[in-house]
Symmetry: C2
Subunit: 360 residues, 2 copies
């Protein structure tokens, strides 16, 4: 984990931009302290629960990077009233009008970023839709603060190969910089130009015009990121420990006490070149067994078997033996657990237990 954090920090420093890590992956103050530039942030969150939790731990600079609804503005104002510079995100005039009205009513300007849709994968205003961008910006200026523009290249998760990833990163940069130019060209402020995803953060060759990069899963990495090619299997810093509870020898199955409750049901690698099932099975030192997968999962049962078509043989694991399972998606697997058991060094001894939180 420390190596993963240092790697992205060094990379972004070389490109001359700061990092605003997304704390939705870890949901842990202990991890956040090791990822953020300072204990006060900056940081990105995906829920107001995260904003509350990290604010209580001293984080003072956050973007809530999911489109705001009017009913949440009271909580945003309360957090801001406690000295937290929490900014919201939006992509409609209706939201901008609600944020401006709430700002006027509270007598304080809520900062908002306009979400830009750089690749059509989800939400946001298209960067060339100048009319919509300006309408939102002007609506915000009726009491709120136009803080800038923000985009997320979610489409990069489907990219394969260095060149495709670099193109995603450049498309992400171009889109958000173009949107900033539209606003500034009309005399509107746009101090923040924010972009990011782990694949593009690790692939961008140039970030001219960008003020900050957001990324989340880079802290742990996972099998989906390894499949995309932005990390190696041995960089994955999160695993689920499981114990052998049985065998169906005629089927080549080892049963373990980790099912989807422990792993999540994320099957993100099923669309990649190498389908890793519900996870890749390793020994206790974290070294992957050849082609050994958590092939199927019920709530608390996992079925471990050799990858279809592989010549590898099933390892001799007995009742009570333990394995580590690498997850497809660290954000999803982490969310199934109440804490992290922190290991360090070749003996993988547990050094600490870091709580994590969930809910909304």
């Amino acid at each position: 984990m420390e190596r993963n954090v240092a790697r992205l920090r060094t990379r972004l420093a070389g490109l001359g931009v700061g990092m605003r890590p997304h704390l939705k992956t870890c949901k842990s103050v202990a991890v956040a302290h090791r990822v953020m530039a300072s204990p006060a942030g900056p940081a990105t969150v995906s829920t107001l629960k995260e904003a509350e939790h990290f604010a209580a731990a001293g984080v003072r600079d956050m973007i809530y990077a999911v489109g705001i609804t009017p009913a949440k503005l009271g909580q945003v104002l309360a957090l801001r009233g406690r000295g937290v510079d929490l900014a919201v995100l939006l992509d409609t005039v209706a939201q901008a009008e609600a944020v401006a009205a709430a700002s006027r009513e509270a007598g304080t300007s809520i900062p908002a970023l306009i979400e830009i849709d750089c690749d059509g994968h989800r939400s946001g205003v298209r960067p060339d839709d100048a009319q919509h961008l300006l309408a939102i910006g002007r609506a915000l200026q009726q009491g709120a603060e136009l803080r800038g523009v923000l985009t997320h290249a979610g489409g990069s998760y489907a990219a394969r190969g260095d060149e495709a990833l670099r193109q995603c990163a450049e498309q992400e940069r171009r889109g958000v910089v173009e949107a900033a130019a539209v606003l500034r060209g009309a005399g509107l402020p746009c101090p923040v130009v924010s972009l990011g995803s782990t694949p593009t953060a690790h692939s961008a060759a140039d970030l001219t015009g960008v003020t900050e990069v957001r990324a989340g899963v880079f802290v742990f990495f996972d099998l989906v990121m390894a499949g995309i090619g932005v990390c190696r299997i041995e960089d994955i810093a999160l695993s689920v420990m499981a114990t052998v509870i049985g065998h169906q020898r005629d089927k080549g199955w080892i049963l373990v006490d980790a099912g989807w409750m422990a792993m999540s049901q994320d099957r993100g690698t099923s669309k990649q070149a190498v389908n890793q099932g519900y996870g890749l099975v390793c020994n206790l030192a974290g070294e992957a067994y050849p082609d050994l997968l958590l092939a199927d999962a019920n709530q608390e049962h996992g079925i471990v078997t050799v990858r279809p078509g592989s010549a590898a043989s099933l390892p001799g694991l007995a009742i009570g033996d333990r394995v580590r399972i690498l997850p497809n998606h660290a954000c999803a697997t982490g969310a199934q657990h109440r804490s992290y058991h922190v290991v360090r060094g070749a003996d993988m001894a547990v050094q600490a237990e870091w709580p994590r939180f969930g809910g909304w």
Copy 2:
């Protein structure tokens, strides 16, 4: 929920067997009290955390229905020492020997059931493998208690139609009763003959020889169960409330603030005749909009759209409007939340908040 519980209770009473509800679905003392025959149980659990939690709430009769590992026997003994009749499950001689050895060492007999594999879907001993059954039974008798046999017709989740479901239920019954006969025929005790799954519990026509039925998801039901045909959409007692956060009108998308973190990534209906995406979208009264699905989900974003091929139109939902989303799998969706907001009556007013727990 109350109607669902009453329905299965009445059905099983008519078949002359008791219910041992599986509390892995609810993980809530408040729900458990409404599902169990008495505050002391009986009940089924899928983790020792559940056993601890429900024991602390007064449940005294539980089966931990996931294959036991030797390292967990200390916790089992500690729970039993506090007056909880907690039985374990196993399907190998190695486990039976470990349970017998731990029993001898502790000077108390740990009760164990032998898991029977009635349909090849997961773990258990095949009912016709008399040699293995007797070897396990005899190993247990070296200090432990052979409490009986237990099976789960997990294959019933793939069955379609009343006749196929009845056949699954009869296969489940026949398998576990046959295994009991093998043990008894060799002079071994087998007081408990336990089976169950929600589809078979609602389909069995005859439960001769069975002493108890286990089922879990019947309490809430879900879209998978509706797809199997054991409940109607309007019987589903669990939903996730979400708020509209945006639109991509040219794509026919409504964005909501419920993604896979709120719904889970269970896509159980994707293999059924009607694929419900990540969930079926309803109005606040719980009435489904025609063919409106949570079609895609990121961590905190959901994309709502009309089912492909449907002639239905997108409802006129504005920023801030709220919907309820019915889940594919109640066990998985419930696990993403820290509590239930309990509603009753036509106005769906929140009457109570019931905490739920997670972890191991």
